[in-house]
Amino acid sequence: MNTTAFHHIRAIAKRELGSFFGSPVAYVFLVIFLLLTGFFTFTVGAFFERGEAGLASFFTWHPWLYLVLVPAVGMRLWAEERRAGTLELLLTMPINPWEAIVAKFLASWIFLGIALLLTFPVVLTVNWLGSPDNGQIFAGYLGSFFLAGAYLAITSMTSALTRNQVVAFIVSVVLCLFLILAGFSPVTDMLTRWASPALIDTVAAFSVMTHFEGFQRGVVDSRDLLFFVSIIAFALFATATILRNRRAG
């Protein structure tokens, strides 16, 4: 990457993060995220009753938690720029549009990463209670981070479509829900009655569930990583295309 591109990305990402943390939204989000992860892990996930030293009950809920929380973070990405008219300013600067797209995506992803890192007390707790496989926990975190990135890139895409954040939010949730359900076992089990196993496997291959599973078990498979990276790349590419074709509106 050449240095001017780097400078542009850094400037935009810095601005974006500044505006995140300058508003109460960031803190509200962090609190809600931590409360919900705690609630799901310890109450719904029956963390203590399981009697095992691991974070399975913690990571299982992430695809569902992110389903609502990630679109909430990403919905403003482009919708807000469009509504406020700053899109016109940004896109008449001597920068490549992809630099802005990557920068804004990275800033939000970093924010989500920070939220995820703040769940560290859970890791401390299991280590205090027993002796878990910390490699497995690390893999879980890595998978969770990429999962959040995939949802975020999809939200970036839908956010570029509209000036209305609510519309961006809803469409993102629906798209992400599809990515979950395509490989969610209660759904795939039901489908076996109508569809051939080969078809179901093909559809499930597009599901984040299928690819997040490995990470939860502590396996970092390059194919799973590639899956998430492809979703991010594709969605960001789509963002660029949408921005190019839907200027002005």
């Binding site: 400078h7 016109e88 300013l89 920068i95």
Partner: protein, 313 residues
């Protein structure tokens, strides 16, 4: 510096900008005039590379905006119609951010921000967040943004909109001064600004150019251009009217409330008509109380050339 050839933009079936061709060189200030919805902002959005053109070519300093957008954008400063900026930033933070995107760093960046803050009188609000600024200050912040890299080409969409009379005056001075060394296009609904700041003006109506020329030549297109009003004490108005009608330079003479209004045959020859009337008065030994030639009125020309919504409806 700015070369526009056959620029056209359609939204769906509707042509909003229709075959505009013109160029602006360094040292020129072009005023964009036209009724609401004429396509001024759309044209500017295409020139600055925000909207792609449906047809035609735009070159900035020789760089085609479609083929070499970055090189073209680097030369341009742009004040959008919305004068948008990031509400959660401070004025200082916003200007530093724009400077960074413009490729400035370190000392050069600080100097650039300092320069435009002074230019646009933003000292007092430098560390205030933009959302708490008054409309005029927000507008000035965005104006400052457009000047930060001292661009060779300036595109400003209604730069004096929302400013107080003092600031309007300052901004006009600024535009005139910038116009000495840069190529400037700005749009406005205030016709006096054409006189105050433009070297050339263009009237656009429903996307088409209907007039393009120096402010003086546009004014000469008005009905009243070159008309001379004469008031004398002594003789009857009708007698003066009859005497004036004999002049070779006069085409029509009318009496209005004790004064005589003489229209010239040639609209640009108002001065010659005034001279002829002066000589006539001397010959006839009239006591001249008032004699003045009109330059013409831009608003008259504007109304004549453009079809406003009210007329259309």
């Amino acid at each position: 510096m700015i070369q526009i050839e056959h620029l056209t933009k359609s939204f769906g079936q509707r042509r909003v900008v229709d075959d505009l061709s013109f160029s602006v060189e360094r040292g020129e200030v072009l005023g964009f005039l036209g009724p609401n919805g004429a396509g001024k902002s759309t044209a500017m959005r295409m020139i600055t590379g925000f909207l792609p053109a449906s047809a035609g070519r735009i070159r900035i300093g020789g760089h085609d905006i479609a083929d070499a957008p970055l090189a073209a954008k680097r030369l341009m400063g742009y004040l959008p119609e919305s004068a948008a900026s990031y509400p959660d930033m401070t004025v200082n933070g916003f200007l530093l951010f724009i400077a960074e995107l413009r490729g400035l760093a370190g000392d050069a960046k600080k100097r650039a921000v300092h320069r435009v803050v002074e230019r646009c009188f933003l000292d007092s609000v430098l560390y205030q967040s933009i959302e708490t600024l008054s409309k005029g200050y927000r507008h000035r912040t965005c104006l400052a943004q457009s000047l930060i890299h001292d661009p060779e080409v300036l595109i400003m969409d209604e730069p004096t909109d929302g400013l107080d009379p003092n600031q309007k005056h300052e901004v006009r001075n600024l535009i005139r001064e910038m116009g000495k060394t840069k190529a400037v296009i700005f749009s406005t609904h205030i016709l006096e600004e054409v006189d105050a700041a433009c070297t050339r003006a263009m009237i656009i109506d429903r996307g088409r150019m209907v007039a393009n020329g120096t402010p003086a030549s546009l004014k000469a297109m008005s009905q009243s251009a070159g008309r001379v009003t004469l008031q004398v004490t002594g003789p009857e108005v009708t007698a003066v009217q009859a005497a004036c009608a004999t002049l070779a330079e006069a085409s029509a003479v009318e009496a209005v409330g004790g004064k005589v209004r003489v229209s010239p045959k040639d609209k640009t020859a108002g001065a010659a008509l005034a001279r002829a009337l002066m000589e006539l008065a001397a010959r006839e030994h009239w006591q001249v109380a008032e004699l003045h030639a009109e330059e013409g009125h831009l608003d008259e020309v504007f109304r004549k050339l453009t079809v406003s919504d009210t007329v259309r409806a």
